[in-house]
Amino acid sequence: MTSGIRRTGIEKTMKVVLLISALASVLIVVLIFLFTMKEAMPAFREIGVWKLLSGTTWRPGNGEFGILAMIAGSGLVTLGAVVIGVPLALCTAVFLSEIAPEWIVRIVRPSIELLAGIPSVVYGLFGMVVIVPLIRTIPAPGNAGYGLLSASIVLAVMVLPTIANISEFAIRSVPRGYREGSLALGATKWETISRVMIPAARPGIISAVVLGLGRALGETIAMIMVIGNSVVLPTAITGNPLSIFLSRARTLTGNIAVEISYATGVHESALFATGVVLFVLIMLVNSSARFLLNKGAH
């Protein structure tokens, strides 16, 4: 009888302990939000939200804290990565789900898994010794190789696995009946893929791209290593507007990482404010991806 009471006691205790563990993630999210907000408040108060967001100069020594250049840097490098990486990732996803024979899949998929596992600092190093010197050969005044284009290329490879994996899964989840129905009507394989399979998988594919976007915005170390880190609003360095990608830049993430260890006072607070902006941006991106995924499920 006593052992029965003891057993019930353990059961009840464990239930509470496990519930608390389950709620730990929420607690961490709340703590992160509160702490970052609390530390950012002085900056928001003293500099002003609008001035912080729209200011183009970041000179902590002079008390100037505008992060527009970093917002532009993060935005442009992500755009570049999307333009380079998304077509490759989507084509790979279609290849793996619809076209490649089984033995090819067994080569390609582990390769992509490995790409996903390579540490970002290794990508950064690879960018510094391979991509940057390559970009430096583009003849343009002031082109040092370090800049948005190098960073976009590195980032494109880094988000490739995320986008390819989720898209492949989305295409594979399309009911087999759709494929058979289309082929039975005399559609070619390609017509079936382009007119039935991809449209049916579209919500999943879009959310894959959006999740990739979120990852790109959050990348830190590899960006610091190849983007040049200058706090300037990126501009075209020659007459060609595309040469804006040869410009050096700094990302929101890089701004935090590079300066936090020695910043004090309003400067430190402004870096936390940078974190809040990044956090909000990524939450928006991720929740829209989740929204699209759920919409696709119904």
Partner: protein
């Protein structure tokens, strides 16, 4: 040949090209790191610590020790919490009519999803504010591990939940029908059956700690010495690559360290794949 089949050939050519390019990128990145890095890897490279200063000389001994500490301490925090959370979400949350519990479960799920989308530099910033500064742990293995734990908790929860879900319902019913309660069933039947799956999740998380740089860049301090306690600062191998490349410009040493790092990740991936395929054959 008609236009429709020509279009198909062109499109398929493009997809084959994409698949080949993806493999070539992997082969080029890994191959380049290995070819440039392996020549510098000698036994001394593993047994000596970095010389420090601006020379870039020395090996990676202390960084291996720090990486090892980071894995152990981070998992000590994250694994019990993550596995516990997953057990609650998968084993306990289903059989309740209480509205408050259901509400708590959906809040918990939201927390996990949000956490898994937070970029690592935010964990770094948070760790810097809370552990390094507010709690006065300083730049230390303790601060860095606590911040790192936030990164891997969602990973452990997700993989553990998957492992628990793959345990056949019959196991639970069998145990419950013999008069075992929920916890006894979980502890004695479900967890052992899900052990392999959970261990791949733990291994995956260890890999994330090995790879992570941004969090530790702002919480671990970067000392190149061998850490002697939880309160010591240090630098993991990944962080060492960063300092070698960015501060001392010792690219050959950076390449060698990166090669060790990539080799370690490959071994971990292979181990995970072996365990996973064993699970598959066991269940198939």
């Amino acid at each position: 040949m008609n236009k429709r089949s020509r279009t198909q050939i062109a499109a398929f050519g493009m997809f084959w090209l994409a698949g080949i390019v993806a493999v070539l990128i992997m082969a080029f990145v890994v191959g380049y790191i290995m070819v440039k890095g392996l020549p510098g890897i000698t036994p001394e490279f593993f047994t000596t610590s970095p010389r420090g200063g601006l020379s870039g000389d020395g090996g990676i001994y202390s960084t291996i020790v720090t990486t090892f500490y980071m894995i152990v301490v981070t998992l000590a925090f994250a694994a019990p919490l993550g596995v516990g959370a997953a057990i609650y979400l998968s084993e306990y949350s289903g059989n309740t009519d209480k509205r408050i519990i259901r509400k708590l479960v959906s809040i918990a799920r939201f927390g996990v999803e949000t956490l898994s989308g937070v970029p690592s530099i935010i964990f770094g910033l948070f760790g810097y504010a809370l552990f390094v500064t507010a709690m006065h742990f300083g730049f230390s293995i303790l601060s860095a591990s606590l911040a790192g734990a936030c990164l891997i908790i969602p990973v452990i929860i997700r993989t553990t939940e998957e492992a628990l879900k793959s345990v056949p319902a019959g196991y639970r019913e069998g145990s419950l029908a013999l008069g075992a309660n929920r916890w006894e069933t979980t502890w004695k039947v479900v967890l052992p059956a899900a052990f392999r799956g959970i261990s791949t999740g733990i291994l995956l998380s260890a890999g994330r700690i090995v790879s992570e740089t941004a969090i530790f860049f702002v919480t671990l301090g970067g000392s190149y010495r061998v850490p002697h306690s939880l309160m010591s600062g240090g630098r993991s191998m990944a962080l060492h690559v960063y300092y070698l490349a960015m501060e001392t410009r010792a690219f050959d040493k950076a390449m060698s360290t990166a090669a060790v790092l990539v080799a370690l990740i490959v071994v971990m991936n292979l181990t995970i794949n072996v365990i996973t395929s064993k699970i598959a054959t066991k269940q198939g």
